[in-house]
């Protein structure tokens, strides 16, 4: 998704302190609250009440979407001719802020409810069975684009490393300080892949080098790029946009 507010753009790249993100979130919400107060003449407690209702409804919608979601229902796949060219670049920052990750020294870190937490090199990931698929990426903003991603079926990878697949969440930490998390059912969906390629080429930096999680059953912002670490947990991990108010499940 594009940048909604300039203050999110200012996020410092090397900033690992989540509390800073929360501070910005607080600032942002108070700004939009202030704007709403001016517009409507309501006082802030009314707005707070409205926000708590819509936030509770968003949690309810997470449950509804989990119930609607089927692990055997596949996203439509398309042909090479359907691919959107050029595939849009999208992040919460501009293209010139795309993080640089050195593929030679890259190690995917694993933690949480996983038996074998040894880190993975890119070569090791490429040595696993690969599959590719042409699917539609639907952005939370409404636009969509079709692209071809290739890589490792995520469910196979999770089972290979001995992840507890009865756990509730898989969380991701990214080189651009983005973070997100998904439900285990979606993680085990056969079309959910660790994407290492785009259009049969090594995943370019703007599309998430060295790896992106490609989930055709979720909105675009639930497809984290530049993944550096992943973990399996039963504690709700949230996400960069989710913590600002986007619906967490965001299935499609």
């Amino acid at each position: 998704m594009k940048i909604e507010k300039p203050e999110t753009r200012a996020l410092i790249r090397e900033d690992k302190d989540i509390r800073k993100v929360e501070r910005r979130l607080f600032l942002k919400q108070s700004l939009s609250l202030g704007a709403l107060t001016l517009l409507t003449g309501c006082d802030v407690t009314d707005i707070g009440a409205v926000q708590s209702i819509t936030a509770a409804m968003s949690k309810w919608n997470d449950k509804v979407q989990a119930a609607i979601f089927s692990q055997s229902r596949l996203a439509p796949e398309y042909t090479e001719a359907d691919i959107t060219k050029p595939f849009p670049f999208n992040a919460y920052y501009r293209r010139d802020r795309v993080p640089y990750v050195d593929g030679a020294t890259y190690r995917l870190e694993l933690s949480g409810l996983i038996q074998d937490t040894r880190p993975w090199t890119l070569d090791q990931l490429h040595a696993l069975p690969q599959r590719s698929q042409i699917t539609r990426h639907v952005c939370v903003e409404g636009w969509s684009a079709i692209g071809k991603w290739g890589g490792v079926v995520f469910g196979d990878f999770l089972r290979r490393v001995g992840a507890d697949i009865r756990a509730r969440y898989v969380g991701f930490k990214c080189a651009d300080n983005y973070y997100s998390s998904i439900d285990m059912a979606t993680a085990l969906h056969p079309q959910t892949i660790i994407a290492l390629t785009y259009a049969d080429q090594t995943l370019p930096p703007e599309y998430g080098f060295p790896m992106k999680l490609r989930i055709p059953t979720k909105l675009g912002f639930k497809n984290p790029k530049h993944i550096m670490a992943m973990f399996v947990t039963n504690d709700y991990p949230g996400g960069y946009w989710e913590d600002k108010g986007y619906n967490w499940f965001s299935g499609s």
Binding site: R73, G142, W143, S144, G245
Partner: protein
């Protein structure tokens, strides 16, 4: 004499028959509120990525303050809109309300009434709909069904992919959703204009009966 006493007391009130049944009135106002929220937040969501390049709704006309806020309101109000709509549809079919209020649909009668309406000579009888009203109300109910069905396809284009495919896939469903919204908004504008022109129609939708009518006066 007791007989004179009897004649001076009021007769028992005639059985009150409201212009709009209570359930229809509640439905109407909940629906109006839900449509306001859905359209206001929907316009903000539209603005995040306009279908028609160069066309955006003024942000001051939208609800939600930003995309995330608008999405939260849209998907919360959706439940109010859909549940309220389902109650109305079931009630309308089962009680015979639809049949009584909106049928028959006679094209010649519609053309006659429409011509009268354009010349400003179409009389409005409280408690019964002319052919133009009947067609417009059926039309807006179909548009509400359409906005719901296309909305489902936009919301879950993978889970409801068969539905989305009927509309040409996700992008097609987005356009259908926009057109259905446009039809509903056009209806609301005409509807509000007519209420402004014939304000006496507002009373029955608020209180069930026409203005000035007391407990004795049932509708004929």
């Amino acid at each position: 004499m007791t007989t004179t006493d009897m004649s001076e007391t009021k007769p028992p009130p005639a059985k009150f028959k409201p212009v709009h049944p209570r359930l229809v009135r509640y439905w109407h106002w909940i629906n109006a509120f839900a449509i306001l929220l859905m359209v206001g937040s929907g316009w903000r969501i539209y603005n995040a990525s306009p279908i028609f390049k160069g066309f955006r709704f003024p942000n001051d006309w939208t609800i939600g303050a930003w995309l995330g806020g608008a999405l939260q309101i849209h998907f919360a109000a959706m439940w109010l809109f859909v549940i309220n709509g389902l109650v109305y549809l079931i009630y309308g079919v089962v009680s015979g309300h639809f049949r009584r209020a909106f049928l028959p649909l006679d094209p010649r009668e519609f053309l006659r009434d429409f011509a009268l309406a354009l010349r400003g000579k179409l009389p409005h009888h409280i408690g019964s709909y002319n052919a133009v009203q009947r067609l417009f109300y059926i039309g807006v109910i179909l548009a509400i069904v359409g906005v719901f069905v296309s909305g489902l396809a936009v919301w879950k284009p993978v889970q409801f992919q068969t539905l989305a495919a009927l509309m040409g896939g996700y992008e097609g469903a987005r356009i259908v959703h926009f057109l259905m919204m446009s039809a509903i908004v056009a209806f609301v504008l005409v509807h509000l204009t007519l209420v402004a022109l014939v304000p006496k129609t507002l009373w029955p939708m608020l209180w069930g009966r026409a203005r000035g009518e007391d407990e004795e006066g049932g509708q004929s």
